[in-house]
Symmetry: C2
Subunit: 286 residues, 2 copies
């Protein structure tokens, strides 16, 4: 059960352009990169992702996991990303050990989801959410405030350029009620950010790559996202086995319904020491 | 050249839930609906959209137009939406006059774009953007401020529930420098909102449905969106023939590059009397 070989493709995350403000003055502003990444699995093209390009290999790995095209990271032998010297886009070549069964059929049906864009998941993702069993966790309010404080302190592309979404995984110490940031990801799309985080998590779970920070129980975990809690965000979070999801933004009706059905704790409008708990309020310890 | 027959399917746009705040107090909050709409074109399922459900028929019409699956509204004979008494979702049955050539091939390749979600457009959309010719328009700054003022005055689902995106089409009177709101749309996804607006525009262009407000020249038009100006948003705006796009948010590098290539005027961070013009600053009259 070895984790896949991943390249370390890198590309600039921001660019400076000259904009003109309302006074007619020119300002140099930083804007986030956005580039295409066409994903081939065992030489079959399955999708093109538009991404900031922070960790393209983890994005692709997490995308395959969240789309349930693979079960675990070790299903993948290698992910080779080549930006090809191009600012516009690159290619990710995924090699699996045993191939993906019925990949044609499984990538045929499309569900274009909400989010600010028309998110896209392959059909069937919503079919088996009832199979998901989340840990019956508790979340001390002090730890929640700790998380919001740590998020504020992050040095982010959002702060420098805006127009990106971030998500982060935290571990909460039940004793000290302190939160530890395990991993923080940003991308032009909040789904890409969440997929990249899923890719990172899957590697921590593989013995040869397990890091010290990965010594968590899922009931310790809290996911933070700057994005809205739409149905797909809630489903993906649950798939990642995280019992609490915190958002700077709000929730949609289907996000609320799915979270209720899954017993996932959802918290929105979370900023500084304020929040609204939409589902699982009984699990928050005050 | 008659415009298609459209049903008038309606469903509640918001729901009230009870949330718990940081003080442990319960608050009744309004959240936006989010429901699935599975689209069948001539009995072939092509996509499922997650939507607020304001104008599902116009959303589907605009989706088909922006995906270039149809050329004009009259290509469609009818769009029948049935929420099927379900809160969860419904079906849109599209009947075309002449079918869609090579629909299988044209809906096969997927490009999952940015936006807050993983937006999805069928491949090839980026191939022929150079064919787009936009009018060489001017925008009086006074008209821009007028637009931002009119947007603030809108009674919106965003104000009541948050977590939705809006876009609106304005016509600018070159003489009075006043802006008129032609149409305003909201949806859980900013792409859905833009597609719905495209659907509305396409109907105004058909003689039998043309409304008085539709007496515009494209160089009079300004598009406003609450969403970020990612590549897909810029491409769709250009396809709609609108020479200026105004956003409350920012722009990504590819959005900037595509707008530059198309000569599309892009304005971001637009609020009250402030803005940043990213492309086409020379077209703004101060």
């Amino acid at each position: 059960m070895l984790s896949p070989y991943l390249t370390q493709a890198r590309a600039p995350l921001t660019h400076s352009i000259t904009a003109t403000n309302e006074a007619g003055e020119q300002e140099t502003v930083s804007i986030p990169a956005e580039r295409s990444l066409t994903v081939y699995v065992d030489k079959r093209e399955i999708v093109t992702l538009m991404t900031l390009g922070v960790n393209p290999e983890l994005l692709v790995l997490g995308y395959l996991l969240n789309q349930k095209l693979i079960a675990t990271a070790p299903d993948v032998e290698s992910i080779t990303v080549d930006w090809d010297g191009s600012e516009e886009g690159g290619v990710a070549a995924v090699k699996t050990h045993a191939g993906i069964a019925a990949i044609e059929a499984r990538t045929a049906r499309r569900v274009v989801t909400s989010g600010c864009g028309q998110g896209s998941i392959f059909g069937g993702l919503l079919d088996d959410i009832d199979a998901i069993k989340l840990p019956d966790a508790r979340l001390p309010q002090a730890a929640l405030f700790d998380i919001l404080s740590l998020i504020r302190q992050q040095d982010t592309t959002y702060k420098s350029s805006g127009s990106v979404h971030g998500c982060a995984l935290f571990r909460v110490d039940a004793e000290s009620k302190a939160a530890t940031l395990l991993h923080h990801v940003e991308d032009v799309g909040r789904h890409n950010a969440l997929d990249t985080l899923a890719g990172w998590m899957s590697l921590q779970a593989t013995p040869d790559k397990a890091s010290s920070t990965a010594a968590w129980n899922n009931f310790d975990l809290v996911l933070y996202t700057t994005g809205r809690l739409t149905s797909e965000m809630v489903i993906k979070s649950a798939q990642m086995g995280v019992p609490f999801v915190v958002s700077r933004s709000g929730i949609t009706q289907m996000g609320f319904d799915v979270a209720t059905r899954l017993g996932l704790g959802t918290i929105g409008r979370a900023l500084n020491t304020r929040y609204l708990c939409y589902t699982g309020a009984g699990k928050i310890e005050r």
